[in-house]
């Protein structure tokens, strides 16, 4: 099935009004898919090289948005963006991808199937003409569009430096609510989000915070089940992801005991193994 392409010129009745909040809105918005999705939704963004924690936040919040029929807006980038959009689609929700290249260009390459699905059943838009290749200089503009298409913007994880800062600043300057998920102060992957919070972005300190924040979008958030986290090793790892060696040293346990306990905690779903060998919340 060939999905319909559209070109909306500034001044057209169908040109999304939210884009006019931007100081320099695109003259033409190119897109493929469902035009009815071009209204502010929940923007979920984060770094490409995300930790399982970041990915899990992206998935969880996008999943909730899906159940409340709120459109998840993101950039289809590797990592948090794709995790959020996949979760939104998987949860039966809607999703809008804003590209830093032509809306018909498959970038990143690994996202070709996701983009195809977005184009046929959801929407993919861009401020760049058809066939424009991805260029470094295009992404700030893409980030401005994401900000404009967000009623509220959630930064799930960002390192330093990060392109998410552009999106967050743009969203703040045009009066969107910006939230950030705080991370461990030891984790380089979370320095960006923690910095945003120190600069005044509202932190999500508790899952219920999010439900208050998202009340703006008439969304409610299910309660956390708070399953058994009384194990000292589990508690230590949730506070600060560690490799088994470090955990053994911190808790003064031998490595065999730690490995066996980790196996049990993993089975219970309390901690997970990160791709870098550390164990932490999942």
């Amino acid at each position: 099935m060939k999905s319909p392409r559209f070109e909306l010129k500034m001044g057209d009745a169908e040109y999304p009004a939210c884009l006019l909040d931007l100081p320099r809105p695109p003259k033409i918005l190119y897109g493929i898919g469902d035009v009815s999705l071009l209204n502010p939704g929940l923007g979920i963004i984060g770094s490409r090289k995300a930790t399982p924690y970041g990915l899990s936040c992206a998935r969880r919040f996008a999943g909730w948005a899906a159940t409340r029929s709120v459109t998840v807006v993101s950039g289809a980038a590797i990592g948090c963006d794709q995790a959020a959009q996949r979760a939104a689609i998987g949860g039966g929700g809607r999703s809008l991808a804003v590209m830093g290249c032509g809306a018909d260009v498959d970038y990143p390459r690994g996202a070709a199937t996701l983009l195809e699905q977005l184009r046929t059943e959801h929407a993919v838009v861009s401020g760049f003409p058809w066939g424009t290749p991805p260029k470094r200089g295009h992404f700030p503009q893409r980030n401005h569009l994401i900000a404009a298409f967000s009623r509220a913007l959630l930064v799930v994880e960002a390192a330093l430096p990060s392109g998410t800062f552009i999106t967050a600043e743009a969203a703040g300057s045009i009066g969107r609510d910006v939230f950030a998920v705080p991370g461990s102060i030891f984790a380089p992957e979370c320095r960006g989000t923690n910095r945003l919070i120190s600069q005044g972005v509202q932190p999500i300190t508790d899952v219920s915070d999010l439900s208050i924040a998202l009340g703006l979008l008439h969304m409610t958030v299910p309660d956390d089940d708070g399953e058994g986290r009384e194990d000292p090793l589990g508690r230590a790892l949730i506070a600060n992801p560690m490799r088994p060696d470090d955990a053994a040293r911190e808790l003064d346990l031998d490595i065999v005991t730690v490995m066996r306990a980790l196996g049990r905690l993993e089975k219970a779903g309390i901690v997970g193994r990160y791709p870098d060998g550390r164990y932490g919340p999942c």
Partner: protein, 499 residues
């Protein structure tokens, strides 16, 4: 005045690790003074003419001013190497009556000659020695054959350090080769500070013959640990050590450590060619996989190896031998080795480092990790991360367990596994593996729940189970319990990629 005559001496040429009999016939007759060698000789053998000519003169004998023809029989067999110098010279001296032809009877000659008449060692001396013993011949060769005689009961030898001594019946060897001492054959595990997870994995790998992948930034001690692996394995048995020594001897390496029971440690550089890795060349020489037979093959910087070289590792790992087929025949070298591979998690090495952030993009990391083919990774049962060691703990000298005490546990576990299954747990599959594990109900629950929750593939479950079997053996348990499964899950490797 030159005497004409004819004589022959016995020698051998190497085909793989076998010494195939070759007869050297020398005919000295009238005609223009020439020196010819016939009988499918390679360049090194043809060059023997110049060495023999000079060595004979240096040894105080006369080189016949006549037509000299050397025939190497059987004619269809290709001969190579420098070991023909001594048999050619001996037969030449006997044919001209300069030494007693009786000296050539029931004797096998092997050795290279120097221009001043010294007898030099050749590659594969051990294989020649075994050939001599099997043919009930006395081996006359370079100093060093006497050391080999100690390893091959029933072998008679006559070491010779100079060609001038060949006319004497007695040994006539003045140079004595320094004895090889097995002192500190492998460095001790106790010298490695921290890294308890990796050490535990090393112990399990040694006990169950599992292949291991070590991941970590540069300088975290991956090679240091691998060098200590053979020290926690029992020494080679007499039979194993002879095979290993033979392979090393044929490749021109020192065979004495292997004869002393020391397991080989091979760490080829990542620029190693396919032929270097699995064996090859003409004549075929054993590659690193065969030189690591009954020992450890350590591949540092795994993703830097050529993809085709890694692909070539598959068959030797599976079969335990390499067959090299050449136009003039096929050669088989054994290759039953343990594999430890080490890799940086990403090109810069700092992916997942708690302090230094990684400078690589996601695409670069994926490409780097994708360089190691799935088939090789599939044969690796365990993977562990080795973080950079905290400098403070390096100075904080706490007593670390020595190789000797780890070896005790490893030997016990190996004996249990062999007594029960006849093979190490890494070789178990399917029904045999399940029966051998005899899992408790709790262990079954643990395995199925974790596998379902973590979406672990069937193949990965098999690997976890094998490792759990070994962990149970190390603990001294007949049945695999949930504790063993929990621990084994921690060493599992991600599907199809390194991390």
């Amino acid at each position: 005045m030159t005497r004409y005559g004819r004589a022959s001496a016995d020698t051998a040429t190497l085909v793989g690790i076998e010494a195939v009999p070759v007869e050297v016939e020398v005919d000295v007759g009238p005609g223009l003074p020439t020196f010819q060698v016939v009988g499918l000789a390679d360049t090194a053998v043809l060059e023997a003419r110049e060495r023999v000519r000079s060595a004979v003169r240096s040894a105080g004998y006369e080189f016949p001013n006549a037509r000299v023809v050397v025939n190497l029989a059987p004619g269809r067999l290709r001969k190579h190497g420098t070991g023909f110098d001594l048999p050619i010279a001996s037969a030449l001296l006997a044919s001209t009556g300069q030494i007693d032809p009786g000296l050539l009877r029931e004797t096998l000659f092997v050795g290279e000659l120097s221009l001043d008449g010294q007898v030099r060692p050749v590659a594969g001396l051990l294989a020649h020695a075994r050939g001599a013993r099997d043919r009930r011949l006395t081996l006359v060769g370079p100093p060093g054959v006497d050391a080999i005689a100690a390893a091959l009961p029933g072998l008679r030898v006559r070491p010779l350090d100079r060609l001038s001594g060949i006319g004497r019946q007695e040994s006539g060897c003045h140079r004595v080769q320094a004895a090889w001492s097995p002192r500190a054959a492998h460095p001790d595990l106790g010298e490695v500070v921290g890294q308890h997870l990796a050490k535990r994995a090393l112990e399990i790998a040694a006990a169950g013959a599992h292949n291991l992948l070590l991941l970590g930034p540069p300088g975290s001690g991956k090679s240091m640990l691998a060098r200590r692996f053979c020290g926690i394995l029992p020494p080679l048995t007499a039979e194993e050590s002879l095979t290993v020594a033979m392979l090393h001897s044929v490749a021109g390496f020192d065979e004495r450590p292997a004869l002393a029971g020391v397991r080989p440690f091979r760490d080829p550089h990542h620029t190693c060619s396919i032929a270097g890795l699995v064996g090859g060349g003409a004549p075929p020489r054993p590659g690193e996989v065969s030189l690591a037979h009954q020992g450890l093959l350590f591949l540092d910087e795994l993703p830097e190896f050529g993809p085709s070289a890694l692909q070539a590792l598959r068959q030797p790992m599976e079969d335990g031998f390499v067959t090299l087929v050449r136009a003039d025949g096929r050669v088989r070298f054994p290759s039953r080795f343990a594999l430890i591979a080490a890799a940086n998690p990403c090109p810069c090495g700092f992916l997942g480092d708690p302090e230094k952030s990684c400078a690589c993009t996601a695409a670069v990391i994926a490409r780097y990790q994708g360089r190691v083919g799935g088939p090789l990774l599939d044969r690796i049962d365990m993977s562990v991360w080795m973080p950079r060691t905290d400098p403070g703990s390096l100075l904080n000298c706490i007593a670390e367990e020595s190789s000797a005490s780890v070896l005790e546990r490893v030997m016990e576990a190996r004996e249990r596994a062999i007594a029960r299954d006849g093979v190490p747990s890494s070789a178990l599959t399917g029904r045999l593996l399940r029966e051998s594990c005899a899992m408790t109900a709790a262990a079954v629950d643990e395995l199925t729940d974790t596998a379902r929750l973590r979406a672990v593939s069937g193949r990965a479950v098999t690997r976890v189970l094998r490792v759990a079997r070994t962990i149970a053996d190390l603990t001294g348990c007949d049945r695999v319990d949930s504790d063993h499964v929990s621990e084994a899950f921690g060493y599992r490797k991600a599907e199809g990629r390194m991390t």
